[in-house]
Symmetry: D2
Subunit: 339 residues, 4 copies
């Protein structure tokens, strides 16, 4: 049965896999000190017009979040996220596992807002409570929305003014990068203290590229990487993949493609008058459907159940990726329209 469960159901984008094949028998030094990691760092630095950025390659998203957040925070400091934030819900307490509280507030359209941060700051006033020190956001968010360039700039101005770090989780960054009102990689670099460029969900076999902009958060990060079990022996594998994704436009092409595939399906839902939980043109679709419709879909496709809305309606999630078959997307849309 064809799966729209997520954007990591297949292996790697063919170009990425080819690069791994082509370099397989070359000898390199280990642990990310090789020439491919250097080349990948160079293309990232070029994209953000900043040769001083500190770039590190890690294997997965939870690992990247826990390794960096625990590096940036002192023992008694906390990170702010919205209630739907990945670090709050879907990482089995890995941030708390490194000793830090995740302070949350109900999301607004999947996002963290300045009001919500202010509210948390106002209620954390002395040493009997944790000290908020970082704001964690995702681009795209867990609900498929994204921060516009303006929103990101305002957030960063606010966090700067309040002595907070701003950290952006870009597990699905490509899906946002190609939106006309969303920040470019250069904009993100200018308006965060650190961010990561997702690979796992964007065509790599695995891997996330952490980019540290804040000078105070750069020193000795490689020690932290190793300390948290996050330094890959054959680090080159990450360098090769990110160099392939980022040296030209492949990363953005993947983002555009998966968004286009999602749009084929989203349009069908809209044409049939179904209620979309959000309407961002990214690669995740959240739609509320009659249970019978969900049943029909599930005869042919794997989709994710998000929650029961009421006795007749359910919310499901459909995710597209670089690997989504256009034919399957069209068939899916056709099926919806024919209901």
């Amino acid at each position: 049965m064809y799966s729209f469960l997520n954007d990591y159901s297949e292996g790697a984008h063919p170009e990425v896999l080819k690069a791994l094949n082509d370099t397989n028998m070359q000898q390199t030094v280990g642990y990310g000190m090789d020439e491919y990691c250097q080349k990948a760092k160079d293309v990232i630095c070029q994209r953000i017009h900043n040769s001083d950025a500190d770039v590190h390659f890690l294997v997965g998203g939870t690992q990247t979040n826990m390794t960096f957040i625990s590096f940036a925070l002192s023992d008694y400091q906390a990170v702010i996220a919205c209630d739907e934030g990945h670090i709050n819900v879907h990482e089995t307490g890995s941030i708390e596992g490194t000793g830090h509280k995740v302070l949350t507030h109900p999301h607004v359209n999947g996002k963290v807002t300045i009001e919500m941060i202010q509210n948390i700051l106002d209620s954390h006033s002395d040493e009997h409570m944790v000290q908020p020190k970082m704001v964690y956001i995702s681009q795209t968010t867990e609900l498929g929305t994204y921060y516009t360039t303006k929103e990101l700039e305002y957030l960063y101005q606010f966090t700067q003014a309040n002595d907070l770090y701003l950290f952006l989780d870009g597990a699905r960054l490509g899906s946002a990068l190609v939106q006309s009102d969303a920040p470019s990689m250069y904009d993100i670099a200018k308006n965060t203290d650190a961010f990561y460029i997702g690979g796992t969900k964007m065509g790599a076999l695995f891997g996330e590229a952490l980019v540290i902009m804040n000078e105070q958060l750069k020193k000795d990060f490689r020690y932290q990487l190793k300390h948290k079990g996050a330094m890959l022996a054959k680090g080159r594998l990450l360098g090769i993949q990110f160099y392939t994704l980022l040296k030209g436009n492949l990363y953005e092409e993947i983002g555009a493609y998966e968004n286009k595939m999602a749009q084929i399906i989203r349009k069908a839902f809209m044409d049939k008058g179904f209620s979309l939980y959000e309407t961002s043109h990214t690669n995740q679709i959240f739609v509320d459907l009659p249970i019978d419709t969900v049943r029909s879909i599930e005869e042919h496709y794997l989709v994710t159940h998000i929650k029961k809305i009421n006795s007749n309606m359910e919310r499901i999630r459909i995710v597209t990726s670089w690997a989504t078959s256009q034919k399957e997307a069209e068939n899916f849309a056709q099926m919806i329209l024919s209901l």
Copy 2:
């Protein structure tokens, strides 16, 4: 310059890479619940004649050690290792990072002995000191030696009798498995509470297969995996690789090949009368050489400096792998003989 620095200088064994290529566009569920992980688990269970073993796939060695050791120990418990143990020296305090002391004693031929464990037990008698609860060993050891079947059996009897877990780090397990007096995978499963089958240094792109034998250490380990950032989204990548390595004899063939390559070089050192620090027939060679000889070698080859012995002598390490060129090994040997 040709590198004998380590056994992870190249990508993956061609058969492993082929399997990744062949399956690349298949859809599977994530996080290690796919059919390839199941097949890899099945071949491991067959090899150890035990269908109840709990098998999990992780990305790297430090990650596997810290995730499992912290899972098995209570807050106040410690793990015993020899001073050269990987967890003691080369993991940037990752075990301590999870809250646990590593209790050490000088190694005997790279190994942990019963006497050394007894000595530590004798000096940890009450609640003002940590409680030793696990013994960590490596096969092969950091010095290229290995535990014989008898040695492992005695160790396990001793740890069983003293309410200690025995955990075997098999990062380079293949190099030991093919020794006639070394324990088979079945022997290891019978004589440890848990062990891992190394992939990273044995022909995989990356990956270690943790095998938990002790019933008390099985419950909820997948929570721990995720909690420590060690659950790979595309878990299938690990399943595919370990299935390829272990379904037939590929894993042992790799072990035998790398040992054979090492022996070509080791024999040259012995024929020239150089002093080998140890003489196990595994894939690591430690040899004490005049500094001039080291200089000559380094004109053509990358090797690891271990330590200065005195003003004239240095100890170096040479490592072979599945990827070692036989021609380069022979050239190296020839060069030594011609000195």
Copy 3:
């Protein structure tokens, strides 16, 4: 200015201080292994009709919570509390500091309810989320309310049925013990996995007596005590104080006295028609007052500002204790009545 800020503004109850004076020059062994700790344990065991309870004495409440909760939970497990729970708000992330998430839900009258626990269980279904394993409640609660015997019994039945531990923080236990519908110490012991009898806020210089009922949570707790820096060298100080408080009725007399002092003040607020945020007859009063009234009070007394209700009203907290001067309580009441 006379303080109604809290119940730890003075030193120790005179009888407690006398006992410390009387025993000062006696020699005892350290770390809680002395005869006074044994006597204190014995009177606790007698009160709960259970000679197998595991009793330990710690210095403070945050320390007791973090030491016990981290002892009971595995790495990936979480503790459930209401949003106002002390461990959630007022312990500077100490529970998270030991690696564990605090899962919260808005309180109902200061309390945790079965519905709220069920709701959290329902939304934590797999290994991508923390595993709820303990429910934390306080008696009295942070809002001065208390669990009735029936409520505690239902909670315990529910936690038992759902494989959760129930842990009761009794920092202000005495104020609840003397309520006719509240559980006795015996009832609490029967209906929790562990609880602590507060000393710091109940007449001791300092100290909390942790009572572990669940057999599985007893082994090696003294190691945990020391590991968390919570084992007092002169442990006798805790034994002497708890023996004094608990050998007769002193503990309950203190609870009754502080409640009576609070009632003098509470009655004045009620007689004047002010809105009490809660009406439990415990030693904490939460009352919403016009800002002018708060100003008048603060000319003579120290009270705690809880929150602004609106532009005209504020909520304040008044706390009484064993040390509260009856004359000051009556003066305070008189002042309110004369407004």
Copy 4:
């Protein structure tokens, strides 16, 4: 039976206890923000001629060590101690419990030396190993020896030159302060990054005064205190005790007295020709005795068995304190002489 087991067998020095009695019914604010804590801080600042020192009061030594060391170190950093260091052996892994490795080397006369630090620095060269960042020493040491002023100055110069913090555990500081060649409190403040003035073993009921000199280690330490469960509700108890001990010469008088009591006993051993393990004139005596002699002693006194030297000899420890009865010390000496 009279106990020479340790220096915390009794309660508090009579003057300390009197101060607690005298202030018992005064109201103060909590958590160390009261006037007594301020007065104690003032006298400490006067003694070290530095009004910018950051002074905090904690309950016990293990708590002080773990709270401060984890505050000062980043995740991947380690603390250096000698093998006999209290943090290495007798704190049940509490430092590791906060995530940090303790790097050790065999002691020299109970002390850490520059050579030993250099040796550890030399073998910790890259990010695959922990990064040494602090040196931990005790004054007096676990073996009753002490650092001279010159030794401390050299150590500090060395740690400064190598970007290491120097932290001095002064659990038994008074016994050293009265030695003519030992550093004064002023000298210690000038030659460490932080130190603590012990109370528990020096006449207080409990308590240690942490003095932070290094500007970079001062910010937000009160958050850390609370986070680690180390902030006493009735903080005044610590202020009152340290003010009493330090406002005049009481602290030094206690040190001189306990040393004098030890000397009475030490002299008897020397006169009888017994071999003292060390000969510093502090309050701990380590002596190697025939087992028969130990037996005789134990008919009348409690002493600590340190280790078996051989089949005929044992090493025991005798500790004196402010509370040691001069008559008992003299009787003990007489008993030795009459053997």
